[in-house]
Point group: C2
């Protein structure tokens, strides 16, 4: 079992490790929401400026989530959410009901697990209206609708400078995939799973909408090919990091909204998390050029190599880093 990141010391040491590997990346760190986290501990984090968010995994739903939250018991965490709201720590939701929670959710499967989670999102926002919440990697029309509904209720005049409390991140792969794509195919299988065509349409509309509560979150997971090819249930997750902007540019171009791509990828997320430009380690910027690029069949070599999303396909937009 891979041990979860639960204490401040673990966060600091993990951040140092990954910062060394990617010195130009500005990392925002999260703790894992488990029964060990107390409101007192959350309050002790005030001013340390290390922990940005706390991640809710429903128990047993995705890779390494066995110590997560039992969604039938989530009100137990209300004192923790109270403290998070006070200290300004974000709640990052993997918004799915688990199918394995004591058999209480017989009618939950991987296709409706996100939709069935949404009442919990609404209940938490109602109870903690100033708690910043992100519904991560949104995949369904139902989720898009509720995020819009909450934001329009919180900000009925659609004031562009109003604070967003409930946002939703969207991955690159959920803009392309539907359930037919992961049927029997481990390389297109992630949690939450891609849904039906009408859901994909809603998620694409949200991404290109220019609404500041929808922004990019890659949720890129570099599972080694040898794990993906196991005969039993493969690990959930897609690798999109290497070509994320190229995937996104195609979607925004098709929608005639290339002008909104930067907001989706950078501006809205930065705004929501309150990150100023001067806080960013790298001052480089990216230039997208309309030039074909072929996604490799494998990144790395042998069993440890990773099969990227759209492996072997030709994408229309190449990226270049500039100072």
């Amino acid at each position: 079992m891979v041990p979860p990141v639960k204490t401040l010391e673990q966060v600091v040491s993990y951040k140092q490790r990954i910062q060394k590997a990617a010195p130009n990346t500005t990392f925002l760190m999260t703790l894992y929401l488990t029964a060990d986290l107390t409101p007192e501990y959350i309050r002790s984090l005030k001013g340390t400026n290390v922990v940005k968010g706390i991640k809710w995994y429903p128990s047993g739903v995705t890779t390494n989530s066995s110590q997560g939250v039992d969604p039938t018991q989530y009100e137990k965490f209300f004192p923790v959410f109270e403290a998070m709201q006070e200290v300004g720590i974000y709640l990052n939701l993997h918004g799915e009901l688990g199918c394995t929670c004591n058999g209480t959710h017989e009618d939950v499967d991987i296709l409706n697990a996100e939709e069935k989670f949404l009442p919990i999102l609404k209940a938490i926002h109602t109870a903690f209206q100033k708690l910043k919440i992100v519904l991560e990697h949104t995949t369904s029309k139902a989720a898009v609708d509720i995020i819009n509904e909450i934001n329009l209720a919180d900000n009925p005049t659609e004031d562009p400078n109003a604070t967003v409390y409930v946002a939703s991140s969207i991955t690159a792969h959920h803009l392309f995939l539907t359930l037919d794509d992961w049927a029997g195919n481990p390389f297109n299988f992630c949690k939450p799973v891609a849904k039906r065509v009408l859901d994909r349409t809603a998620v694409v509309s949200a991404a290109v909408s220019g609404k500041p509560w929808f922004f990019f979150g890659s949720d890129s997971a570099p599972h080694p090919v040898v794990n993906k090819m196991k005969r039993d249930h493969p690990p959930a997750g897609l690798y999109t990091q290497s070509h994320a902007l190229s995937y996104l540019a195609e979607i925004f171009e098709n929608a005639g909204k290339l002008n909104l791509l930067k907001n989706f990828v950078s501006t809205y997320g930065q705004q929501f998390y309150g990150i100023k430009d001067e806080d960013l380690i790298s001052k480089k910027h990216v230039v997208l050029t309309k030039k074909d690029i072929v996604v490799p069949r494998l990144i790395g070599t042998g069993d440890d190599g990773v099969v990227p999303f759209k492996a072997g396909e030709t994408l229309k937009w190449s990226i270049e880093w500039r100072d």
Copy 2:
């Protein structure tokens, strides 16, 4: 491309080939329904006693179905169905709408493709009430409901000796699997895909119901492991032939209906197809014993080996052939 079996000569030669490989099996042969089949040709088969049925594959839905029926154009085949009804040839349906038919079915995906096909089944039965039709490998509550509905309408007094015109076969694997099982897992992926828990419940109820219009059809497909492990879309199909009765016995035992297992496996299908005991090549029978048996991880060796359903798992019922 694997060429389909379309002519009488091809059927005879194919039957000879497989009969040699399995000399004790009584094969019922089917032609592939394509635009090449004419009503005249069907009528010329009268009395040849070779072709039992004609198989409808919707174009592009499953393995080797590229020359199949475009479900938006199915009424073109009505003269063929008329001739089949006359001659006594059965219609074997792979009952799914295709998602690839000229983009006319944007709202069809692998999860609702069977349910969306059902109006076609109903329309064909309404037009040709004495045509024998089998909805093969039924997977959904919607299909179970319509098959019951048709049979109760045709035979409102539930006379056990009434002729069944519309039947449904059920596989072993669809009694176990739901969509969570084939998510990213090529070895549990078949077409039609296993559906939701409520669908599986309906299919199990149908199988153990003792109604003569539900009977076993294995739809077992021995795809070599090397094909299943391809990185692109894997072929649809599960291999269940080797342990079919053991899988089924568990389901019937759990339902307290072991006494109905033989009807489901043998009697009802034989009745529907009008096969007398004396027409069967083998006179052997099977005895099921409650004795653990482990399903091999691989049947055969190397790349050509086949991963059977429930590979590596222990089943509770063993079978034995007796004279």
